[in-house]
């Protein structure tokens, strides 16, 4: 059975239909890219899955739980972690403390108002492991606000990983990076994805990045799914070329 399954998911803003009857299912261990032109509803899809935005209609099942409409902190605790299109970090904390706070969110005693040495120790072990997976061990003690843009993007992924998620949602992980930084970050991500066998839902504009990382691709256009398949199938699909690749030129 699929780990993440959407059926008939719709989100309206007044007359605008941002998501229109979206159905898709993501298998465990799969890296799925969601692509589509600007305004196709990719970020809205992420917001609906993570509970930042409630769907107007439809069901979302994650690991057997119906999660549509739950508050975002509850969905997060079921094992859905995400990164943001625009870098969101704690700039004055060290990279390690950023990842530690992320890991702490999954601890049963994350709220402990005194002591808590064991909470910190367990969270820090997860944080250090995640930083290592993303190749950030060397800069773990530096304030997150002073890291290079590429390292900041990777730190966001490390923070999500420190939460030991069952599915990882990456919203344009190379957004705002230069060509060289993008190439480096994609190499690191590809190595990490291969080693971790993580289930990933990825939104990305850069087609090279998508074809490098994704096992399967879902194409959104005006809020609806117009194609779903392997990178080669999607590349060959006439509707996709018409709506998306053609639309670029």
């Amino acid at each position: 059975m699929a780990l993440l399954e959407l059926d008939g998911v719709t989100r309206r803003y007044g007359a605008l239909v941002a998501l229109d009857q979206v159905a898709m299912s993501v298998e465990e261990g799969e890296v799925r890219a969601v692509i589509g032109p600007n305004g196709a509803g990719k970020t809205t899809l992420f917001n609906v899955i993570t509970g930042t935005v409630k769907p107007t209609a439809g069901t979302i099942r994650f690991a057997g739980h119906a999660i549509a409409g739950l508050p975002s902190h509850q969905i997060c605790r079921l094992g859905v972690s995400r990164t943001f299109q625009i870098t969101a970090l704690f700039p004055e904390m060290s990279a390690r403390d950023n990842a530690r706070l992320a890991a702490q969110a999954r601890h049963a005693r994350r709220w402990l108002p005194f002591g808590g040495g064991h909470v910190f120790a367990e969270a820090e072990a997860l944080a250090d492991a995640a930083l290592q997976q993303l190749g950030l061990t060397a800069i773990a003690d530096r304030p997150a606000g002073l890291l290079s843009h590429g390292d900041q993007r990777l730190l966001e992924v490390a923070m999500a990983m420190a939460q030991q998620p069952r599915v990882l949602l990456l919203d344009e992980p190379t957004q705002g990076l230069s060509v060289e930084e993008t190439a480096q970050a994609v190499e690191t991500l590809a190595r990490f994805l291969k080693a971790s066998r993580m289930t990933v839902l990825l939104v990305e504009h850069d087609m090279e990045v998508v074809f490098r990382l994704a096992d399967r691709i879902t194409v959104l256009h005006r809020g609806g799914v117009i194609a779903d398949g392997t990178p080669d199938q999607v590349k060959a699909d006439a509707r996709v070329q018409d709506a998306y690749l053609g639309g670029l030129e």
Binding site: R77, L89, E92, H107, R109
Partner: protein, 320 residues
């Protein structure tokens, strides 16, 4: 080396405060006791302002509520002072839960405005509910009731000072444990990026309500000490001017340090006392001092002290 130096400085400061009644004249003891009470009050606001970036424009509500509650209990029941003070703190903390629930419906400036609105509401009530609050006269002649358990020592000048100092030290140790705990780490996350903290899976609103309740409880403890200290509670304790002054104490002392606001409160009292003996427009001169701190020492007195001790001092223009 830094934690060691500050630790030694803290112990030295505590030793001076413990020995103070031996050498100081009664008038100075009165000032020092008030500084200790105000220090506790300022420190309670630091939990919200310094650690969670929740800017309260109405923290006088906690002080005044604690003072009125404790004063009313001492005047109208036979409750010993020790219990009345803590009962005032407890009541204020419970009210703080409601205030936190209400004010965290909003964020940013709207949050601040709601805290101010609540404080002004209490201020209006203190005028109108004459049968309980004494109206514009306030509550006068509040006794330091000894009670049946023999806390007589607390009622003397030095005894009351030690009682207030114990509350300050106890409050400081509790706050320090709180900000160093997992709970405190979440508060820091809210301070730096609340949206991200929520996205990580924290229910940030509950944390904010809790920290407002704790800050109110400690502020109420300070107010509860003030009532038997001064022997009265009046509407000025709920006035917005005090809310502004306590914010200034926190900023001048050094927000987000706990010790800083205590020093800031003492500095404020010292300046008020010295400057007002010299000019009526003392608030104007203190305003200039405040501006100088914001411009040249944004980390406050405590930031200056620890910076000098470790040679890390940098003026504001060189900070990143």
């Amino acid at each position: 080396m830094k934690p060691l130096t500050t630790g030694i400085a803290g112990i030295a400061l505590l030793a001076v405060l413990v020995l103070a009644p031996l050498g100081l004249p009664p008038f100075a003891m009165t000032l020092l006791t008030e500084a200790v009470i105000l220090g506790l009050f300022a420190m309670s606001l630091d939990l919200m302002f310094g650690y969670t970036r929740l800017v309260s424009f109405g923290h006088a509500a906690a002080y005044g509520l604690g003072a009125y509650a404790c004063g009313w209990l001492l005047l109208n029941t036979g409750m010993p002072m020790l219990f009345a003070v803590f009962a005032g703190a407890l009541l204020t903390g419970i009210v703080g839960l409601g205030v936190g629930w209400m004010c965290t419906l909003a964020t940013g400036v709207s949050f601040s405005m709601l805290t101010l609105a609540f404080a002004q509401l209490l201020y209006a009530i203190s005028f109108k509910w004459t049968s309980v609050t004494g109206g514009s006269d306030g509550l006068a002649g509040i006794p330091r009731t000894v009670g049946p358990f023999g806390f007589a020592a607390l009622s003397s000048k030095a005894g009351f000072y030690y009682f207030a100092l114990a509350c300050l030290v106890g409050g400081f140790l509790a706050c320090r444990a709180l900000v160093r705990s997992p709970f405190g780490a979440v508060l820091r996350g809210i301070r730096e990026n609340e949206a991200k903290t929520t996205a990580l899976g924290y229910n940030t609103r509950l944390y904010k309500i809790a920290v407002v309740a704790v800050a109110y409880g400690l502020g109420g403890l300070a107010g509860g000490l003030y009532a038997p200290f001064a022997g009265f509670a009046n509407t000025e304790l709920l006035f917005w001017l005090l809310s502004g002054q306590v914010l200034i104490m926190v900023i001048v002392g050094g927000a987000g340090t706990l010790v800083g606001p205590i020093l800031g409160a003492a500095f404020f009292m010292l300046m008020e006392h010295q400057l007002s003996a010299w000019t009526e427009a003392w608030a104007l001169y203190f305003g200039l001092i405040f501006i100088a701190f914001v411009l040249f020492a944004p980390e406050g007195i405590w930031g200056l002290a620890t910076g000098l001790a470790t040679g890390r001092f940098r003026p504001a223009s060189e900070r990143h």
